[in-house]
Homo-oligomer: 257 residues x 4
């Protein structure tokens, strides 16, 4: 029963997001939009019932309501009602934005996905390094952006320093849209240096995450068990006998003591 | 004899794919296309004979016919015959698609390349992580794409949410075609954040594959010694006693025997 | 008191850089520029006082004045005064450049950020390798750029060898602006090879930095045990005797004491 | 004397390459080209003398002449003479190509740079893997390219299969020029898959090179010295006593024996 509810919920979440996506495509036959509108109401009512049910089930409703999933569930439900109330008025853009909020329903799906704790741990452990790294990238982008604005100016799209910084980040991250590109020899020379810098910089976060990740890998695969006879360490996780002296290992004892 | 057959087959596969490629180039002299047409028939007949021979050689033909290589071999043979039958009718696009199917013949060549088992193992072992990672990328692309569609709208090419998601993936993967690019300051700001996210995300699969790969590397360095008592494998290189049953290990015997 | 001064300074630095950025944006209401001009004077006066204070506080002022931060502090103060003196004359471009120099004030902020010594060490240790690597990239760019100039010529934007080299670095670093792109089949073929080369090359700095970084990490995993006889450090984790003087090591004692 | 010759040679090589680069820039004052022409003759004569000197010095001239550097030195010398001979005729394009050959002189400079043996070793060791990897990339590009050609066709620049393959490699390597970009929804969907594939694939060479590099790092930092008493290996490079039995180590003996 609970299992079936979960499967239906999963399908409805995916359908709902698909509906938002299709709705934004112009030029489809009129009855498609009608179908989407009806489907939207069905899904919203289902989500409303789910939201009410979850509040009723929880012992302390306020904990759920202000939790991450509580807010997501609320935001998944409210847009259609709000847009229904506001549709008479002419705040059309707000209504459009509200309706698009429905896309955040996809976050409901994260309930189904087991969190990658190890990856999360690697990211949290390298938080300080990533912050320093980002700070360095922003300083480089700020200074290089200002220089490019000075050298290139408006004739090649470097209209202001913020735009120049945007271009710098596009270049440093090796995305390179090409909507803005240097034209003067000096600008192209500076761009070359920025690109090689970006190429070098790309190695840094990879190195950091790899190293943190590899470190965690070690800890996960190696227990801290010591042989009672000879004190040898770093046994295989499933080892029953010490690899050094042949003494029987007692994981349960080591863990309790 | 068998060796020579293999070499001829290899050359014909490569030639065949080359022919498909050249055929698609417009503006060559007419006799080139005539030559390609004749060459195509020669190759198809050869592949047909090969296919029949392989069926006759195999003890249980159905195993071969429905195997990966059996299907590839069949698909390598059939297009020309089918296009010959259908050419009178006006299903020209289907014929064109059929003829292009011949490009899958390149997969026949994988028979010659020893599979990189280690790489395959690294990819399979990190399957779950890669799936979680892909899922995270798609959620980011969906939400960021919807926001970009809302902010930028149609004036800069963000015509619908699917197109916006396409743009987001182009940006997150640092490809950056530039066919669609943000124009408004807010859109450029959001693009900057997406790019830096993408830059950080690029580190994650690299870290995962590197770590898995390095781990497998370790297994290669571990000896192939088996315990004479219980048959356990994968002992530490410096192990003197079996980690499973405590039996003394005799590396020198295992190596000599 | 000193704490509060630091916080105010931090805010003023960020505000100041923000002002330079906003000032470069055209089309804002006139009173915004007026506000920025006044704000700029307030900040400059504050920075001037800070600069004078720092000179007075330091025992040997010349050490401060010619230090990295001394020069940064001076460059943060001078532009507005200079532009005030020069504004009557018609050296407008110089004045503009001078005013933009203020962006270097962001470097004042690095006083607040603890330096990532480990990252710095990894970069310094791999200096020689990075130099060889950069040299290789430049040789590839020079030769490939010349060939592309020869093959493509001016019809597709490869106007001169320097421009071709610029394009090559744009391609090798996988930035790919697309402002210049090969048109001829031969040019596209060569571009393909350059791109795959660039794809392979991207692995090299990542590998170098990762390895250096991981090596430093290793030192963290090595025990902190010191020999009681000679004080030598960095023994192998399973060492029983000092690698320097042969004295027996007593891990259990070191850990307990 | 020999030292000074080396320094002059180094400067002339760099100057020479710089001259080729400047020569290709159009629109400079006429006397610049005249200066470059004279400079070119001076450098060519110097290189000619160097080439003759090297032949005279070597005991077996043929070894030098057909060595890597011998061919580079010859190619550095000949272009100007050949272009002088051919200049009367109308083989202008050949002459232009010949003159640009001078850019290969940069390879003379590799005499000065100590070869990165370790990097070379890492690349050679992972040769087989890199080959398999490249082969996989080409198969993906071939099949995806054919599909894109079928889906997109000529309206968006996918004129032929070779051009489509070129686009696929531009996309897989995350370069993304944007000169060709998919327009149809189906094409954009396939492009998305290709990009995510490319994003995943980028991890593979990095992982391979990193792992090989890290493996070599170990070998370089660990000597092959064995303890004469207990046979223990993998001592620290500066170890004087065996870490296992305390016996004094004799690196000088081990190396001589």
């Amino acid at each position: 029963m609970g299992k079936m509810f979960d499967v239906i919920l999963l399908i409805l979440i995916l359908l709902s997001v698909l509906f938002v996506m299709i709705e934004s495509v112009k030029g489809l036959p009129e009855n498609v939009y009608d179908f989407l509108y009806i489907g939207e109401w069905v899904i919203t009512i289902f989500f409303t019932l789910e939201y009410i049910a979850r509040i009723l089930i929880t012992k302390k409703p306020s904990t759920y309501i202000f939790s991450f999933y509580g807010i997501i569930d609320f935001l998944s439900t409210i847009p259609l009602y709000l847009s229904f109330i506001l549709v008479g008025s002419n705040v059309l853009i707000t209504v459009r934005a509200l309706r698009l909020l429905r896309v955040f329903r996809i976050l409901k799906i994260s309930r189904y996905v087991g969190e990658s704790n190890k990856l999360k741990k690697a990211l949290i452990d390298s938080r300080a390094k990533i912050f320093v790294f980002l700070f360095a990238v922003l300083i480089v982008a700020l200074i290089a952006g200002t220089l490019m604005y000075l050298i290139e100016g408006e004739q090649s799209g470097f209209n202001s320093i913020p735009v120049s910084i945007y271009w710098c980040i596009v270049t440093l991250t090796t995305v390179g849209f090409g909507d803005i590109a240097p034209v003067t020899p000096l600008g192209q020379f500076l761009a070359t240096i920025i690109m090689i810098l970006g190429y070098g910089i790309i190695a840094v976060p990879t190195g950091i995450v790899s190293a943190e990740y590899a470190k965690n890998t070690d800890y996960v695969h190696v227990n801290t068990q010591a042989c009672r006879n000879c004190g040898a360490l770093k046994h295989r996780d499933d080892a029953k006998y010490c690899h050094k002296c042949g003494e029987e290992l007692h994981p349960e004892i080591t863990k309790n003591s």
